[in-house]
């Protein structure tokens, strides 16, 4: 049940995340809002609670050859291959825009070796607008034959601990759903020092060519069909680790967002929905606010995890 409070303060969207005050609990998911400026042809970047960067690496990365996107029922598959301008270029070319707009940023990053993750974390200087570093643990580990870093508890513990050791910025672990037990992985990341979680990344999938009867496309699945998987991940991890969770996966409207809060998320990220309706993010923010007023909810915190009672 929702906890009900007095009528006066209904619909306060602000949250506290990793010690910072954030004006609303809605972020974009990494890699789904370009470098930030692109969307400002339609709405202001300040609309976001936090902007999450595209996955960044120590050096620019060119990504995969096209085709990079594929349609599925109730979702899409992407194989962008982590194309990005690199950390240095992001901070010289794009970060000033967020400073000007006073928009908080979560820096998503990845590496192909443990050393690259550590080097990334070292490169990023603390700044009042940088809320956290988001470690993309779904990235293929070239040293271990391309198996992603996030699949094995021992490896997750090690890499999080090494990254934590070189940065003062809070570290969020973003986990892949393609694991036997996501709770076990989350516990390992928490023991390694993770200050929070983003659950979940895309699901590795495959598409076949019906005529040739051979694979035509492989990549990460995102969109509405991912939602129940992501929701269960948030629900299961919430009880096991005492740090904030950011929910992501298939969130299309404010109702999905509310589900994630009640499952245990402090904030949410919207990805693929923006491709279908570029106004999804502002609409979800407004929808959450209206819902809170209607149900007399004063803050998001009041409903976070309430599905567990």
């Amino acid at each position: 049940m929702y906890r009900r409070t007095g009528f006066r303060h209904m619909g306060n969207l602000s949250i506290k995340l990793l010690g910072k005050d954030i004006k609303n609990p809605v972020m974009n998911a990494s890699g789904t809002l370009g470098y930030g400026k692109e969307i400002t042809r339609l709405w202001n970047i300040e609309t976001l609670g936090v902007y999450v960067t595209k996955g960044l690496s120590i050096k620019p990365h060119h990504g995969n050859p096209p085709p990079r996107v594929w349609e599925e029922k109730q979702g899409m598959i992407n194989s962008i291959g982590l194309q990005n301008v690199g950390i240095e270029c992001f901070f010289s070319e794009y970060f000033p825009f967020f400073k000007k707009k006073k928009t908080p940023v979560i820096v998503n990053f990845f590496g192909f070796t443990e050393e690259e993750y550590v080097a990334c974390a070292r490169m990023i200087e603390p700044h009042p607008l940088i809320i956290a570093l988001e470690m993309n643990l779904s990235c293929p580990n070239i040293k271990k034959g391309g198996i992603s870093f996030g699949k094995e508890a021992g490896g997750v513990y090690d890499i999080v601990r090494k990254v934590k050791a070189v940065t003062e910025i809070p570290v969020i672990a973003k986990l892949t759903p393609e694991v036997k037990d996501i709770v076990e992985i989350a516990r390992a990341a928490y023991e390694g020092g993770a200050d929070g979680f983003t659950l979940i990344n895309t699901m590795p999938v495959l598409a076949l060519d019906r005529e040739k009867r051979l694979p035509v496309f492989r990549g990460g699945f995102s969109g509405p069909a991912l939602k129940p998987i992501a929701l269960k991940a948030v629900y299961s991890v919430y009880k096991e680790v005492p740090v904030p969770i950011i929910g992501a996966g298939g969130i299309i409207d404010y109702k999905d967002a509310i589900d994630f809060f009640t499952a245990g998320a402090t904030a949410i990220q919207v990805g693929t929905a923006t491709f279908i309706d570029p106004y999804s993010i502002p609409k979800i923010i407004q929808g959450i606010k209206d819902h809170m007023k209607e149900y007399r909810i004063s803050t998001i915190e009041d409903i976070t995890g309430c599905a567990h009672e």
Binding site: T32, G63, V69, K73, M76, D277
Partner: protein, 253 residues
């Protein structure tokens, strides 16, 4: 540029497999440049992502798109009826750059004519069209341009005009063209663009091409729509924001 609601006015078949849809937008798009495109949300639950289509025509909130049925999305699009609501995001991308003086050669392969139609309407007598298609029936895609412009046609099966590819047709006539005073605009399947690049390899003629790739957002957000470029420093460029019109020498075909 905005995501604008529209109402289908007409969605009729041009010839088997090809349609022309006209949509009345509830709000104006503002200025539209030839070569720009829209991301159309097709209101059928078999279709998840939006689909990109060139702006075939745009005048006082009336937008039209000419399309070929090739798969799930375009198939669903062909079932839309009058008064149905759609969402149209646009106008998107960089259009063709026009020079004030020079004469133009427009080269279209099949449904590629849809991407050049608006340009042809603007250039009129300053342009000639080279149009290539499979067979006589597709000549219908030239539609209103047939009366207004100077057109050379080629068909693969020889049922209309020159028998062979449109690039071969152009090649045969290349000597007659004063290319220092000309420029080329092309839209069509990749083999056509490749062949074009080969035949103009030695002559210095300005050539812009409108290219296609699968898209998700159309807004530069996802990096899903890239084309391979000739630039080693930036080997992949977003078609939806840096294109869909490129200089032919910029793209690796």
């Amino acid at each position: 540029m905005d995501d604008v609601q529209g109402i289908v006015v007409e969605n009729s078949r041009v010839v088997t497999g090809y349609y022309l849809i006209t949509i009345r937008l509830v709000k104006s798009f503002g200025k539209v440049l030839p070569g720009q495109f829209v991301m159309l949300r097709i209101p059928r639950n078999t279709v998840f992502l939006r689909r990109p289509f060139s702006i075939y025509n745009y005048k006082t909130r009336l937008l039209s798109i000419m399309y070929k049925v090739v798969g799930i999305g375009t198939e669903a699009l062909s079932t839309l009826h009058r008064d149905e609501k759609v969402y149209v995001l646009g106008p998107l991308g960089r259009g063709f750059k026009k020079s004030a003086r020079r004469k133009a050669i427009l080269i279209a392969g099949g449904i590629g004519i849809a991407g050049l139609h608006l340009l042809a309407k603007e250039l009129r007598q300053r342009a000639v069209i080279y149009f290539g298609c499979e067979s006589k029936k597709e000549v219908a895609l030239l539609y209103d341009l047939r009366e207004e412009m100077n057109i050379y046609v080629s068909t693969m099966d020889g049922t209309y005009g020159y028998k062979g590819t449109v690039v071969d047709l152009l090649k045969n006539r290349l000597e007659t063209i004063p290319y220092n005073k000309m420029e080329i605009y092309a839209c069509g399947p990749e083999p056509m663009l490749k062949a074009l690049k080969n035949i103009i390899g030695d002559i210095r003629i300005s050539c812009q091409i409108l290219v296609e790739e699968r898209m998700a957002c159309g807004l530069g957000l996802c990096f899903g729509c890239v084309k391979k470029t000739m630039d080693e420093k930036e080997p992949y460029k977003r078609l939806c924001t840096e294109g869909p019109v490129f200089d032919i020498w910029e793209i690796s075909l």
